[in-house]
């Protein structure tokens, strides 16, 4: 066995050990993601809304529209299960539903539809410019798709990511549309356990 091959084996063993060590390390707090930030919109009661007013609460945020027949009700249904699973600690959790269809989703429509679900949710709307700004902040996207032959006239294609913000308003976790209630609950428990002063890092 020459020096070269010993070195090669040594590197391999070292790498393997490093991987094992990384796997065994206790999972640390989720890092702060470079997306998101404060914004101003109008809530479903017609009142101005500032994200900064929710400091001290964990926030779930997603984009959608109420004429969406499928994924928006599915997400809201899933969040109902998340709230009931969290029990008492859900009192520090606020859900924000930002519409990407402000023409049809008036505050009244948002309020009526959200009232159906047993979650502490606020529907948010605003001018197209205000909404577009929030969409950009969160690296989300949407697109109005005309449907001339449909009774619905148009649909809105949109990203379905669910964002979890910590008590300091920083974006910490994102969940894909397929995320299960378990995964969301687990992620939120970590954020809910953090002190209200926030986590910086």
């Amino acid at each position: 066995m020459n020096f070269k091959s010993t070195l090669r084996i040594g590197t391999l063993v070292g790498l393997l050990l490093a991987i094992i060590a990384a796997g065994c390390r206790r999972e640390g707090p989720a890092p702060v993601l470079p997306i998101g930030g404060d914004f101003t919109l109008t809530d479903h009661n017609g009142q101005p809304f500032e994200l900064s007013s929710l400091r001290g609460k964990v926030v779930l945020l997603f984009f959608g529209y109420t004429y969406c027949p499928n994924e928006c009700p599915t997400t809201l249904g899933k969040l109902s299960s998340v709230y009931s699973r969290l029990g008492q600690s859900a009192s520090s959790l606020k859900t924000l539903y930002v519409t990407v269809d402000p023409d049809r989703d008036t505050p009244e429509v948002l309020k009526a539809d959200l009232s159906y679900f047993a979650i502490d949710a606020l529907g948010l709307t605003g001018t197209r410019e205000q909404i577009d700004k929030v969409v950009r902040q969160y690296a989300a996207a949407y697109q109005i798709v005309p449907a001339p032959e449909s009774k619905g006239r148009y649909t809105v294609a949109h990203t379905t990511t669910l964002y979890a913000l910590d008590k300091a308003g920083q974006t910490r976790l994102t969940f894909p549309y397929q995320a299960t209630v378990d995964q969301i609950v687990k992620g939120l428990e970590g954020l809910l356990d953090e002190p209200a002063s926030g986590q910086n890092g």
């Binding site: 004429y67 499928n70 009700p73 599915t74 159906y116 996207a141 449909s150 009774k151």
Partner: protein
């Protein structure tokens, strides 16, 4: 039922008198049975506000439809022999003068028929007429030469959210033939329009597109579920609550129609 016979007799239609006399005892028995069943119908209807094939079956029996149209819907009921205008055989779609869809039949049931013994079923509510029409259509499909080629099952619909009168519906289409078939349209007597839509993920965005046909492979199934294809129900004429039923009529590429009753479920449900 008894009323038609009496009215007919008063109009002096001789051809009626004979079966009328012969069937007097049967008639009396009938009247008793229908009134009991009718009472039951009223009670049951008061408790349920939706339409279904099962409800239609019950109403079909309770209103004496089988006495003329027959239990199996072949137009060969016990009193059919005495009628000048033969009762409709539900297999014979071409003979349905006012249309053979669920909505057309439901509408027909409310009308009157000057040249036949068919009464106007104005005693039934709109929902009940839809139920009877669904049952009539199901009788037709159940008989179609051996086994029905395409069947629809496990149909459900999300209850619309409070500010909406539209909803998404899902079902499974099963094709037992050796040829591919397609769903080319759908309607509901209680909705302004039913469209076929597909949800898909494109460039990271979830989008909806209207489609004109949904292929049902030979000896296979087409699933309409929350992950893709679905029916979009627009302009519902009444509120739907979990537990209700939404009558749907599906149109296939070969001209066949299928009736299916979709169970209304919680809007947040995923399956």
């Amino acid at each position: 039922m008894a009323c038609i016979w009496d009215c007919r007799k008063r109009r002096g239609e001789v051809w009626y008198a004979v079966p009328f006399m012969l069937s007097r005892r049967i008639r009396r028995l009938f009247r008793l049975r229908t009134s009991c069943a009718g009472l039951l119908a009223v009670v049951l209807t008061a408790c349920s506000g939706s339409s279904s094939i099962e409800e239609g079956h019950r109403l079909y029996d309770a209103n004496g439809c089988a006495s003329c149209h027959g239990r199996e819907g072949h137009g060969d009921g016990p009193v059919s022999k005495g009628l000048a205008t033969k009762p409709r055989d539900f297999q014979n779609i071409a003979a349905f003068k006012n249309g053979s869809t669920v909505s057309a039949i439901a509408k027909t049931l409310a009308g009157s028929f000057p040249n036949s013994a068919m009464p106007a079923y104005r005693n039934l509510t709109g929902n009940e007429r839809i139920s009877v029409a669904m049952y009539v259509t199901s009788l037709r499909e159940g008989h179609a030469a051996g086994a029905p080629a395409v069947t629809a099952h496990d149909a459900w619909v999300r209850a619309p959210l409070p500010a909406h009168n539209d909803a998404a519906a899902y079902l499974v289409l099963e094709n037992s033939t050796a040829e591919a078939r397609a769903l080319v349209g759908a309607s509901s007597p209680i909705a302004a329009a039913v469209e076929m839509h597909r949800m898909s993920m494109e460039k990271g965005m979830m989008r909806m597109d209207q489609v004109q046909r949904i292929k049902i492979p030979a000896k296979g199934t087409a699933a309409l579920d929350p992950s893709g294809l679905h029916l979009m129900i627009f302009g519902l004429k009444r509120k739907l609550a979990p537990g209700d039923a939404l009558p749907l009529e599906l149109k296939l590429d070969d001209g066949d129609t299928l009736s299916v009753s979709a169970t209304v479920r919680n809007p947040g449900g995923a399956s």
